[in-house]
């Protein structure tokens, strides 16, 4: 037929593994021709993507053969400056020698001096185990600057959250509301579901300042001002309650709406739920002896007493004289002020639209109920013949989370979803195993400096879920123990740590200096820091003796990037196609609504050069350092390599719980729990790299209160307790912190004086709206605009500019500006402009867009690059026309005289307030360079990188040039 080479696909080999072009974790088939990547497509038998793939996944070959790939361990040349990227190749033996000597000394003296922070690594179960065994509390992944508000806000309310934790059931929903969602996350499952949903005739509403990707196909776009989602959600709650459009039966049985709250303001238990001394608490961590005020007897009764039904509204007095109210009464009082008219002024959404949205949600939830013929038994022993669904589903992510008011906003969303009666029900929100978890989950961080001891594992997990001030990781003065000040009074519920604080705090020696910082897969010298320029200076800053303020920086990554330039030691990681990996139940598995799923990667290609998977580095280091879980009592290594570790490691000797849940037991006959199986990897490889346990229908819904599911989960050791997980409409966890700030409780811990007011204000047991912290401090006349970033679907973070195919889709970024706004500033489409915030300025190009609300400007995240980084040529568009919005963002907020400076983070969780920045725009002078600003000295080529010199890339797999 005249096309080239007809029989070229002879001798193809197809290998299944799991994608890692983003964090979505789809099943892929890698087609190899003569050992080179000929094609990557979706695995049709994979539960996550069912055969489809995305732009990134299909471009894996260009990542595998990227010229930016590192191939040798590198050591900074003596006398060279950090950032100048002058390196010498060294052997792995030398690299391990250097690390072992340094880390052994730290571990024997003060383990805190070693900090391990990782990007979106998908291996937090291993990295946190390493940190804990080392004995350092200074460990976290990137959640603190990603979306911890979304995780914490929802887990502290409904015991689960979006993405890996749970999601919208779009197969059965009739109305779907999406608020501010990153388009590069959980993307294929979301795209698959959105399409089915629309084809099934559901209505899709997108609430977002910008109309891109998913929002493009929304039936209705509701533009909103960034950071004001909380106001909208509270007004929706106001309207639903005012109209009686809430699911009362659901609230009564499955939430704490009817539970009586102590209203005696002089009592140490003010604002906490009344616990009935006459009834057994059942579980001291999660006491169940709460009270309702029964409508039939007009008397207090134990909750869920047969034949009783509580008042949700009203004021009552207990026999002992204590005034009490149902939690719902307090919610109703709280939202009275949040009228649609009020919210309209804050959000920019017309009041009538807000009211209509509330009615659409409320009426569809109420009138289009789903009844599934699935019998189940609730936690109180009542048998139900059917499972009911109210088909209104929501999804939200960073657009809500990345604001300093994001925790309370997320709480408001979870409460709205609960009022509509949509939690773990068909057509609403569905959990994914191991969720639902207790509120909050049982794992706690250590709570005193005593937990850190030389040559000893850390007492407790580095990250956990505080339930009150006693769980904070602070010393007697209330000062933080962690370098990032996680779990301190400054951010008590920083459940994912605060990666964005590490370099700044270490540089400031606040709360103390550290010696060695190991960064895995996070571009802290570029788009993973809020204040990029300063961080680059801090990394390179020396004390009066001429020593670096952060003495030793190790970076492990597969690619040359902005951060590798600053490392003292660079460790070359493999790509995802070259290694074993687990998506573990101990970490963030890929579970679906119908049961637990975990999965693996298996190598389909040999490692490039001397690349070594980071997992192997940790196993090797742990062996050399003699970390107890990794060595025999005589100090010899227990695990020969990472696959061996995954097969044989158990959380405790004989626990039967390990990294992988499938094919456990000596013959692979057990799952979730069972002794190690030496053939486990083979069994995963034979089964599409996936283990999927499908729950029976009766365990598939209402899991917070499903007796059968809870008992199954307990037997499988997914859960410790079988207690029902009642939704926290009212958060007594928050109230405990507030009471501490109010000085209640003689023996209790109290916040230091300078944080008292902050804790009292933001630890409100009911959601409330406040302007993001930066908005409260900035001159809004001088900086009238919000600036945010969006994630393009064809790029993942800063990773893909090195990818020859993907960079042609996003070669550089523009600032998108509504034409009405641009014209007020005399700016034409395509003009070079200046964008200024209180903190800095950038020069970039303007692109007109009618798809952005006029008070907001936005750009794609992470497209702009530093010159020469990612092995792009110094004049590549990414550095010459592309720009980074981070230069406009600060990690700290303006200091009021006499006050300590505070981090630009949510005061509850420490989530970085990325999306709070306010800016102004102006036209660049005609005489100015047509080049983005700031610019940085071009990064030189690193030793061992593959490089690429030709004008042409003529890729045809199998020629044998790239093996």
């Amino acid at each position: 037929m005249g096309l080239h080479a007809d029989s070229i696909d002879d001798n193809l080999e197809i290998k299944n593994t799991t994608c890692y072009m983003c964090a979505c974790r789809c099943g892929i088939r890698v087609h190899l021709r003569n050992g080179e990547v000929r094609y990557i497509d979706g695995n049709p038998n994979h539960p996550l993507n069912g055969g489809v793939i995305c732009a990134k996944g299909a471009s894996g070959a260009m990542k595998q053969y990227s010229p930016a790939r590192l191939s040798q361990p590198l050591m900074r040349k003596p006398g060279s400056d950090r950032g100048s990227a002058e390196f010498a190749e060294i052997t792995w033996d030398k690299a391990f020698e250097v690390m072992t000597e340094r880390l052994a000394k730290i571990r024997a003296t003060d383990p805190k001096q070693f900090a391990l922070f990782t990007g979106r690594d998908q291996m937090q179960a291993l990295t946190s185990l390493f940190a804990r065994q080392f004995g350092t509390p200074n460990y976290a992944a990137h959640g603190g600057f990603c979306s911890v508000n979304m995780a914490a806000g929802m887990i502290y309310t409904i015991g689960g959250s979006f993405w890996e934790f749970g999601g919208p059931d779009l197969e059965r929903a009739r109305l779907f509301i999406m608020l501010g969602t990153a388009e590069d996350h959980h993307s294929n499952p979301m795209k698959i579901a959105l399409s089915k949903f629309k084809r099934n005739g559901g209505k899709f509403i997108s609430i977002n300042p910008v109309r891109t990707g998913y929002s493009a196909i929304a039936d209705e776009w509701v533009p909103i001002k960034p950071g004001t989602d909380g106001a909208l959600l509270l007004a929706l709650i106001h309207e639903l309650i005012a109209q009686g459009l809430y699911d009362r039966d659901f609230l009564v049985r499955y939430t704490n709406a009817g539970q009586l709250v102590n209203q005696d303001s002089l009592d140490d238990r003010f604002g906490l739920f009344v616990e009935d001394a006459a009834t057994e608490s059942v579980n001291e961590m999660f006491p169940q002896n709460k009270l309702w005020w029964d409508r039939f007897t007009n008397l207090p009764v134990a909750t869920h007493s047969p034949g009783s039904d509580p008042f949700l509204l009203g004021h009552f007095v207990l026999a002992c004289g204590t005034p009490v109210v149902p939690a719902f009464q307090l919610l109703e009082e709280r939202v009275r002020q949040y009228t649609p008219e009020w919210a309209s002024g804050v959000t920019g959404i017309p009041a009538d639209s807000i009211r209509r949205l509330a009615y659409e949600m409320g009426v569809i939830a109420r009138d289009q109920k789903i009844e599934l013929q699935i019998p189940w038994t609730d936690s109180w022993g009542n048998e139900h013949e059917t499972v009911t669904g109210n088909p209104v589903a929501f999804h939200a992510m960073r657009g809500l989370a990345a604001h300093s008011n994001g925790f309370q906003t997320t709480r408001a969303l979870a409460i709205l979803m609960s009022l509509l009666g949509t939690i773990d029900r068909p057509g609403g929100f569905r959990h994914k195993a191991p969720f639902p978890r207790a509120i909050p989950p049982s794992a706690k961080p250590p709570n005193s400096p005593e937990a850190v001891k030389p040559d000893t594992p850390l007492e407790g997990l580095p990250l956990g879920w505080p339930a009150g001030p006693d769980d904070l990781f602070v010393d007697e003065q209330g000062s933080p123990v962690r370098i990032d000040k996680g779990f301190s009074w400054e951010y008590p519920l920083s459940v994912h740590g605060l990666m964005h604080n590490v370099i700044v705090n270490a540089w400031r020696k606040d709360p103390y200096p550290i010696d060695t910082l190991l960064i895995f897969m996070a571009n802290m010298a570029w788009n993973s820091s809020m204040n990029t320029v300063q961080v680059r200076e801090m990394l390179n800053d020396k004390d009066e003796k001429g020593d670096y303020k952060i003495p030793f920086l190790i970076v492990c990554d597969a690619f040359q990037s902005e951060i590798t330039a600053f490392a003292d030691l660079v460790l070359p990681d493999t790509t995802y196609l070259e290694r074993y990996d687990v998506m573990s139940m101990l970490d963030r598995p890929i579970s679906e609504f119908d049961g637990p799923i975990d999965s693996v990667r298996v190598p389909v290609l040999p490692p490039h050069g001397a690349c070594k998977p980071f997992q192997e580095v940790l196993i090797e280091l742990a062996g050399r350092l003699g970390l107890p879980a990794f060595v025999h009592p005589d100090g010899s290594r227990r695990f020969c390599d990472y696959p061996d570790f995954i097969t044989r490691y158990e959380t405790e000797p004989g626990s039967g719980i390990g990294f992988l849940a499938g094919w456990r037991g000596s013959n692979g006959e057990k799952f979730m729990k069972g002794e190690p199986n030496p053939k486990q990897w083979e069994m995963y490889a034979k089964n599409n790299c996936v283990f999927h346990y499908k729950l029976p229908d009766s365990y598939n819904y209402m899991r917070n209160w499903n007796k059968g599911y809870m008992e199954w989960a307990q037997r499988m050791r997914i859960r410790r307790f079988t207690d029902p997980v009642l939704i926290h409409l009212y958060s007594d966890v928050m109230q405990r912190f507030r009471l501490a700030a109010q000085g209640k409780g003689k023996k209790a811990r109290h916040p230091p004086e300078h944080l008292r007011e902050r804790i009292e204000t933001y630890f409100d047991p009911l959601p409330f709206y406040y302007e993001p912290l930066e908005d409260q401090l900035v001159d809004k006349v001088a900086y009238p605009l919000n600036a945010v970033t969006q994630r393009p679907m064809a790029m993942y973070h800063s990773w893909d500019s090195q990818n020859a195919w993907l960079r042609q889709i996003h070669t550089h970024n523009y600032l998108y500006v509504n034409p009405a706004l641009a014209q007020q500033n005399d700016i034409q489409d395509g003009d070079w402009i200046w964008v200024e915030s209180m903190w800095g300025k950038v020069r970039c190009m303007c692109r007109y867009s009618e798809a952005v609300e006029p008070g907001t400007v936005w750009t794609w995240n992470g497209i702009g690059k530093s010159s020469g980084a990612w092995h792009l040529e110094p004049d590549a568009n990414e550095s010459q026309k592309g720009f980074l919005l981070n230069h406009l963002i600060s990690d700290v907020l303006p200091v009021e005289p006499g006050k300590q400076c505070i981090s630009n983070s949510d005061p509850v969780t420490g989530q970085a307030g990325w999306y709070d920045v306010r800016v102004r725009i102006s036209k660049a002078d005609k005489e100015e360079l047509k080049q983005s600003w700031p610019q940085f000295a071009p990064m030189p080529e690193l030793p061992g990188t593959r490089g690429f010199k030709s004008r042409w890339l003529v890729y045809f797999a199998g020629k044998g040039e790239l093996k």
């Binding site: 732009a55 993307s187 998913y214 009615y359």
Partner: protein
């Protein structure tokens, strides 16, 4: 006679570009490849793609639509690119109507791309040969592939299944049904090219609520003593009117 074609559903396309790079990946190493990239890591990279997604904005804020528009060769029934070819390289395959380029005959003169009103052809600047979407004939003809896989790479990849593939001359095919029932349309029919590929338009779902739908007799507020009946002794017209 068979006429294979793509029907692209703009109602669900989110513009993710999965079709773009899946096409590139399959075809650069396939019988239509390689598809070269100029300046792959430098300024203004520019490569050969058989399929691209363009994004348009329609309307003014706040009534803005963002439309993602995937575009590739439309495999016209009367393809203007075929008769203009001086060497006979550009041809329409009789068996299934796929428009192809015989690389052995192509001299890279560009006449066909000038004749194409849709801009669907790209001269591979490295090979100096005209290249375009083949509907992945090396997949759909390839009996070594499992039957389910004998579809264009873009169709296999598409997460929203916005790309339907089949015979538009078969009235019972999925694509013919979609065109018929969902308002499928051709691009620039006035050119008389009779493009085989069709597009399905955006369709909007609207919820019509009547004012009286919010209220209900079982309003839960009544249970908790709100929306109370008036007290019996409250004033009423009954007490003060006497006629």
């Amino acid at each position: 006679m068979t006429q294979l074609a793509l029907v692209i559903d703009l109602n669900v396309c989110v513009g993710c570009h999965a079709c773009v790079t899946s096409c590139k990946s399959w075809n650069t190493s396939g019988s239509a490849g390689p598809l070269a990239d100029a300046n792959p890591y430098g300024a203004d990279p520019s490569g050969t793609f058989f399929n691209r997604v363009q994004t348009y904005e329609v309307g003014q804020f706040p009534d803005t639509e963002t439309v993602h528009f995937p575009k590739s060769c439309l495999h016209c029934e009367d393809p203007p690119c075929v008769p203009v070819c001086p060497t006979g390289a550009s041809y329409k395959r009789e068996s299934d109507g796929v428009v192809l380029v015989d690389y052995d005959k192509c001299i890279g003169c560009n006449y066909c791309s000038w004749a194409c009103p849709y801009g669907a052809r790209e001269l591979d600047e490295h090979r100096k040969e005209m290249s375009k979407c083949t509907l992945c004939v090396d997949r759909i003809d390839n009996e070594a592939l499992p039957k389910d896989d004998r579809k264009p790479a873009c169709v296999m990849a598409c997460p929203t299944q916005a790309r339907l593939f089949g015979d538009i001359h078969d009235p019972a095919s999925e694509v013919s049904v979609a065109i018929r029932e969902q308002g499928g349309y051709q691009l620039m029919p006035e050119w008389g090219t009779r493009p085989s590929n069709h597009y399905l338009p955006r369709r909007k779902m609207v919820i019509q609520l009547q004012d009286d739908q919010a209220g209900r007799v079982d309003n839960p507020l009544k249970v908790d003593g709100k929306l109370l009946k008036p007290r019996i002794d409250e004033p009423a017209l009954d007490d003060v009117t006497s006629w």
